[in-house]
């Protein structure tokens, strides 16, 4: 029971700060789930992010479900996911009930223009932190560049490839040309 409560509170806190589509969450997740609580490794988080790209739903919600399930099975998964959803639900209920033009308030616009700067830094840190472990050789670098190109220019290219297709193709690429010694368990904790 105590552990379920801990799960709920942990993901409630994470749900409070999910700005910028979840990608900026990686440094926060690494900090809270790996370094502080040791509920999972950074490598596992990356795997969850990769899986989250090709399954429905918000990536951070997927991570909540994964970690909850890992700690306490299905009840854990439900409690963690509910914890993650609680704050966004309350905030939107308050906005829907009381504030009609919330997003137009100058103070709100200024605050979130500031937060977006922090989101940029957080995403940059996520990439730097994970680079060494994921882009392990030239083949992986090539794959990174191809996926980056196709994603960034998806709106300009004649055919835009859905993210889910890119992810599945990358998995197949790995199965065909990859190396095996990159899986999570062997690599130990964070080197910081």
């Amino acid at each position: 029971m105590k552990e379920l409560w801990e799960l709920f509170i942990c993901f409630l806190r994470i749900g409070m700060v999910t700005f910028g589509g979840g990608y900026a969450m990686l440094p926060i997740l690494v900090r809270d789930l790996d370094e502080k609580r040791h509920w999972c490794t950074t490598d596992e988080l990356m795997d969850y992010f990769a899986i989250g790209q090709c399954t429905p739903g918000v990536i951070t919600l997927n991570v909540s479900t994964f970690i909850g399930n890992k700690r306490k099975g299905i009840p854990g998964a439900l409690v963690a996911s509910l914890g993650f959803l609680t704050v966004p639900i309350i905030i939107i209920l308050i906005i829907a009930a009381f504030l009609t033009n919330f997003a137009d308030l100058p103070v709100v616009k200024d605050a979130f223009a500031g937060i977006r700067v922090c989101v940029c830094v957080l995403i940059l840190q996520a990439v730097l932190r994970l680079w060494k472990k994921s882009v392990v050789d030239k083949k992986a670098l090539g794959l990174y560049l191809v996926v980056l190109f196709l994603t960034v220019f998806s709106s300009v290219l004649p055919v835009s490839i859905p993210a889910a297709v890119l992810v599945i193709a990358s998995g197949v690429f790995g199965i065909l040309f990859g190396k095996e010694n990159t899986l999570t368990q062997e690599s130990g904790g964070e080197d910081e």
């Binding site: 795997d47 997927n62 939107i92 940029c120 830094v121 882009v135 990174y144 990859g178």
Partner: protein, 190 residues
């Protein structure tokens, strides 16, 4: 009661097919708006703005909002749970198989490809945020002055946060709060 069930059902459907995060929900929301009349297209546009300025993803926020508008607080809750349910169920299934096949060579190799792809998509998301946050393309296009291209206040704050995180090792939430305060004090939205 029927409305509540319908809310759960409609948002369950949207949740099931919106692969790859928040914005993927949008086409389903427009369709739902036409079908049910629970909210208008303008509501969706407003909700995009609200979602950019609150924690939580657009799909989740829209579910809460539409649910509240149709049947109050309980409605908001039901619609949101409906939207999240497919994602939770699918991840539980994936987690089950992942544990079973953890040691499989094929899973290990698949992740060799999945990780660079994942980082690439995170980078792409970063580039799109940087484009609207650190640069001022509209101003540059009208004046063609290189000094107008960069949002100088944003660069200064960004560099300070980057150095601060490295040196101070505070929790990222602290830096989000500092960034919000700096945004308000120095009027970042202009």
């Amino acid at each position: 009661m029927m409305t509540l069930l319908r809310l759960v059902y409609e948002f369950f459907k949207a949740g099931l097919f919106s692969i790859g995060g928040g914005l993927a929900t949008l086409p389903f929301l427009y369709e739902m708006s036409d079908h049910t009349g629970w909210f208008t297209h303008t509501d969706i546009a407003d909700m995009i703005a609200v979602s950019e300025s609150t924690p939580g993803a657009i799909g989740i926020n829209m579910a809460t909002y539409a649910g509240y508008k149709t049947s109050g607080i309980l409605g908001g809750f039901c619609a949101t749970v409906g939207l999240a349910m497919p994602s939770i169920i699918i991840i539980l299934i994936v987690a089950h198989f992942l544990n079973k096949f953890r040691d499989s060579r094929y899973v290990a190799r698949a992740f060799y490809g999945l990780r660079p792809a994942s980082i690439a998509m995170i980078s792409a998301a970063g580039i799109s945020v940087v484009k609207i946050t650190m640069f001022n393309l509209p101003a540059f296009e009208t004046s063609h002055l290189i000094t107008d291209l960069f949002s100088w206040k944003a660069w200064i704050l960004g560099i300070l946060i980057f150095i601060g995180e490295k040196k101070l090792k505070w929790h990222p939430i602290v830096f989000i709060a500092i960034a919000a305060a700096a945004g308000i004090v120095f009027h970042f939205a202009q």
